[in-house]
């Protein structure tokens, strides 16, 4: 057991921590931008509107993130049309493929959270909005969204944690995230236990920071 190698190679881990953080943060943000309209439209009764969204959510929630990443990173390269277009500039980058896969994945899960929260909106509050003459758009903007997004927060904090942990597969497509850093260190020193334990601790730090922030927020929102 020799933990001095971790201390010697701490820069690798810091770099990995940074990569994991921005990759996860960016996919969560972009995913949320997809998820809110997708979740709203998913509650629509028209199949032309909710059908495509249902299919998107069904695919990304139904298959492993790793398979989705491979489809984008390896699979897309098979199509000459893309290889010859400007898109290839992005798709040849591992970070772009990981970001895209993570965004679409978390977008689908978060859309489901949004949909559930909207479905569980207390009927009486909607009725009150109606009775006071609000239009459907006003009801959505002023009552349904702020109310249900707040209620969705505990479920969303879980999604963030899943995303942090799920992002460990970015290392498979050459990205040096936390897991990637551990792999490099292990390859250099052949000290798998020390290398991956350090990675595990870093993930724990990230996870508990998120949990802590949500706890703080929930304390402020104890009334809901």
């Amino acid at each position: 057991m020799d933990f001095s190698i971790i201390i010697n190679e701490y820069q690798f881990y810091l770099e990995g921590l940074w990569t994991t953080t921005w990759l996860v943060a960016a996919s969560l943000l972009l995913g949320l931008i997809i998820a809110i309209p997708a979740g709203i439209l998913r509650t629509n009764n028209n199949w032309l509107i909710k059908g495509p969204i249902w299919a998107y959510m069904y695919f990304f929630r139904g298959s492993p993130l790793l398979v989705q990443l491979f489809l984008i990173y390896y699979g897309v390269a098979q199509f000459d049309a893309i290889k010859e277009s400007w898109l290839w500039y992005y798709f040849q980058e591992a970070w772009f493929c990981a970001l895209l896969a993570f965004t679409l994945n978390t977008g689908a899960y978060t859309a489901e959270i949004v949909r559930g929260a909207i479905k569980n909106m207390p009927k009486g509050e909607l009725e009150a909005a109606k009775a006071y003459g609000m239009t459907r758009l006003q009801t959505l903007r002023r009552i349904i969204l702020p109310g249900s997004l707040r209620r969705a927060l505990p479920a969303y904090s879980n999604e963030i944690i899943f995303m942090i942990h799920g992002s460990a597969i970015a290392g498979v497509v050459t990205i040096v995230d936390i897991t990637g850093a551990a792999r490099v260190v292990n390859a250099r020193y052949y000290a798998p236990f020390e290398a991956y334990l350090a990675a595990g601790i870093l993930y724990m730090c990230l996870t508990f920071s998120v949990i802590y922030l949500f706890k703080l927020w929930e304390k402020r929102q104890h009334h809901i």
Binding site: G124, E127, G133, T135, I224
Partner: protein
């Protein structure tokens, strides 16, 4: 003859095969306080909810201040209003107080009260706040204005709901069993606020089980039975000399 504030003519409402209202006529003039009584299932809540079109009548006419709510018979959806804009505009002049309070739980007490004035009626925010504070003072909850509904008791919630209703300066206030979900010791506070409102000449339609309120406060009582008006009149008359056997039985069992 003044134009009635609310005029309901031959109102029918069915849910699938179940006809809940079988032809109701009702007129409310400015300042009337009409209590609507009846056993559960008699259609009294449905009647009230038809006035602001929370329920769509199957047939009949509703006029608010002489303005007919235009209805059409849609092939696919059945009877429905011609113009949702008209319905929204009329709703914004009525105000409803619900049995289950139905406050918006993500908004604080004062935000609940200013929501409709600002966003539906277009009242400037500052003005709406000043008025909301006065209304909360009036229902005895000014010191709770920054609380959230989840932090209040049922009676407090219902008084906030009444302040929310008053904030839109409604032409008619619709009360749908406002005290039925309350613990007995909290009923009094809500009823005394409603009593005040009646005394200052508000037009109110009240679905209730509170016989004392119906008898002492309202200017007219309507007793529904199986979707029809079984008995109606001034409370002092019909409570003393009910013509309907059913109403006689109803008041003897309930109070």
């Amino acid at each position: 003859m003044t134009i009635p504030t609310i005029s309901i003519r031959n109102l029918h409402k069915s849910f699938a095969d179940n006809e809940v209202l079988k032809g109701i006529d009702l007129e409310a003039h400015q300042g009337d306080v009409i209590s609507i009584l009846g056993a559960s299932g008699s259609g009294k809540s449905t009647l009230l909810r038809c006035v602001n079109l929370l329920e769509t009548p199957t047939s009949g006419h509703i006029l608010i201040n002489g303005e007919l709510i235009k209805m059409k018979d849609d092939k696919k959806h059945g009877p429905m209003p011609v113009s949702i804009k008209q319905v929204e505009r009329i709703r914004s002049r009525l105000a409803m107080v619900f049995q289950g309070f139905n406050l918006w739980s993500h908004l604080s007490v004062i935000e609940n009260v200013i929501e409709a004035p600002i966003h539906v009626l277009g009242v400037p925010r500052k003005e709406a706040i000043v008025k909301a504070e006065a209304l909360l003072e009036r229902v005895g909850l000014f010191n709770r204005k920054d609380y959230y509904p989840g932090q209040l008791s049922g009676g407090q919630k219902q008084r906030v709901a009444i302040a929310r209703a008053l904030a839109v300066e409604p032409e008619v206030m619709l009360f749908d069993e406002p005290t039925s979900a309350l613990d007995p010791e909290l009923v009094g506070d809500v009823l005394s606020v409603m009593r005040d409102l009646a005394e200052e000449g508000r037009t109110m339609l009240v679905v209730t089980h509170e016989m004392a309120f119906a008898r002492d406060v309202s200017s007219k009582v309507i007793f529904l039975h199986e979707g029809l008006v079984e008995e109606e009149g001034k409370p002092e008359l019909i409570f003393e000399n009910p013509t309907s056997e059913r109403f006689k039985k109803f008041i003897s069992t309930v109070y």
